[in-house]
Subunit: 240 residues, 2 copies
DNA sequence: CGTGGAGTTGACAAAGATCAATACTAGTGG
DNA sequence: CCACTAGTATTGATCTTTGTCAACTCCACG
């Protein structure tokens, strides 16, 4: 998001304190010793434009920190279209979410320009995190999870129409149920619309569409899903 | 997100360990002593449906944890329409973002049903966070910031059309500049579309529209904004 | 000069928004 | 127990925005 990429072509290794000095790095508040420690344990990679840094599904082996250039983080939706979730510029972290939260990357990272990226391996970070109070670890995990969910909704919003979004939402409500399910909508129609980002009428028509295709039945505030497997399948097929 | 609200009408104070036992609370991994400590320092509030727990702009005085019922977190867009960002059910935290990150709530919280909500005041939490390694604090702050940004994009996506979203994006690129600005789009048109969640043609037409209204000028990859104030004003006015 | 890829424009189709009318439903007061 | 009313849900008609597909332009590069 910053003005522009200046490749420091003098030093071999960018020093963390330079990133921190720029003011936007994640390590701003750290002591000089801590920064020097980071410098010792990190490695630096240079990647050409177009290079993939990691892909969804891969385990996080550590955390990246962009030194120069821009990296795009994106998810690929059903139709193969990308949703760019975030741009990471100098001082921004990559892969921290997977590392802190859930083990596995849920998006891809690709260099949009030639980039220089520092890498802090798990060996360095794990003890740091392990030593923290459990409450904080829990908070980190929680925030990572919220972020993942929100990114999912952003993807959904741009790449699915109402039917698909509704179906996905109902499946989330149904949770891990098998076979059939009966879920209570915690919402008025207006609120459902506010959640899904649409007009109430559109939501109602979406529901009506699912009913017509016999994927759900409406019983007031309750929704019956006679066949979860079929609903899931229909959603995967096309944007439904 | 869970099945339904059961108000435990026996005990006066819900115990944290009960939340944790349910498996989804944020305090699952904590030791029994730690949980008991939380119980001692927390207070419990009961609110009727429709009650506002906090509003955007208010300082976070601590962190809430839902014990029973459902709370909706939402932002209100320009036209007064709500975008629901998250539903918080039993075991979910509220207001942690503002507390950990930025001081001030950036969304409202309202009880969707009668709710029971525990409150952990800042006095209890601050020392806990203050004692943590700075790196973790930084990570927490970073994640909180990412969430805020993403929520902003979700709101934008549902409540603004292409012109507005483009304008907002350009203003973000321009950053704190005054008067006029000239920003470089770090994207191809296709990538810009992937970022904004639209077809490339729609993006181009959106840009063309802004050009026609003389709010921007296109110079290849660069965009000139002759009058930032005017652009901002137009965006605020209507969904533009 | 071609040639290929990105960018742009136009014509048309589809999804969604908006506005107005109608149907439900739950609560209220006879 | 029956209207009556207010609020919510639903439906229909119509308009706007966006997506899709195809043509065409504009460079950059060989």
């Amino acid at each position: 998001m910053e003005k522009r990429i200046r490749i420091p072509r003098l030093g071999f290794q960018p020093a963390c304190k330079d990133c921190a000095a720029a003011g936007h790095g994640p390590f701003c508040g750290l002591s000089p010793e801590a920064l020097a420690g980071l410098d010792r344990s990190k490695s630096v990679g240079r990647y050409p434009r177009g290079q993939i840094l990691f892909q969804a599904g891969a385990r996080a082996l550590g955390v990246h920190c962009v030194s120069s250039g821009l990296v795009k983080l994106y998810r690929v939706g059903a139709g193969g279209r990308e949703q760019i979730l975030r741009l990471a510029g100098p001082g921004d972290l990559l892969g921290h979410r997977a590392f802190l939260g859930e083990r596995v990357h849920d998006h891809d990272a690709e260099a949009m320009s030639d980039v220089e990226v520092c890498f802090l391996p798990a060996e360095v970070l794990t003890p740091l995190v392990a030593g923290a109070p459990p409450l904080l670890r829990t908070l980190l995990r929680g925030l990572a999870g919220e972020l993942a969910e929100l990114e999912g909704r952003l993807l959904e919003r741009s790449q699915q129409r109402m039917g698909g979004r509704l179906g996905a939402f109902l499946l989330r409500l149904a949770g891990a149920a098998e076979g059939a399910a009966r879920v209570e909508l915690p919402f008025s129609r207006q609120e459902l619309a506010d959640y899904l980002g649409a007009a109430p009428e559109t939501v109602i028509r979406g529901l009506a569409g699912l009913v017509k295709r016999k994927l759900i039945r409406l019983r007031g505030r309750f929704v019956e899903i006679p066949d979860l497997v079929r609903l899931r399948a229909e959603l995967d097929d096309r944007a439904a």
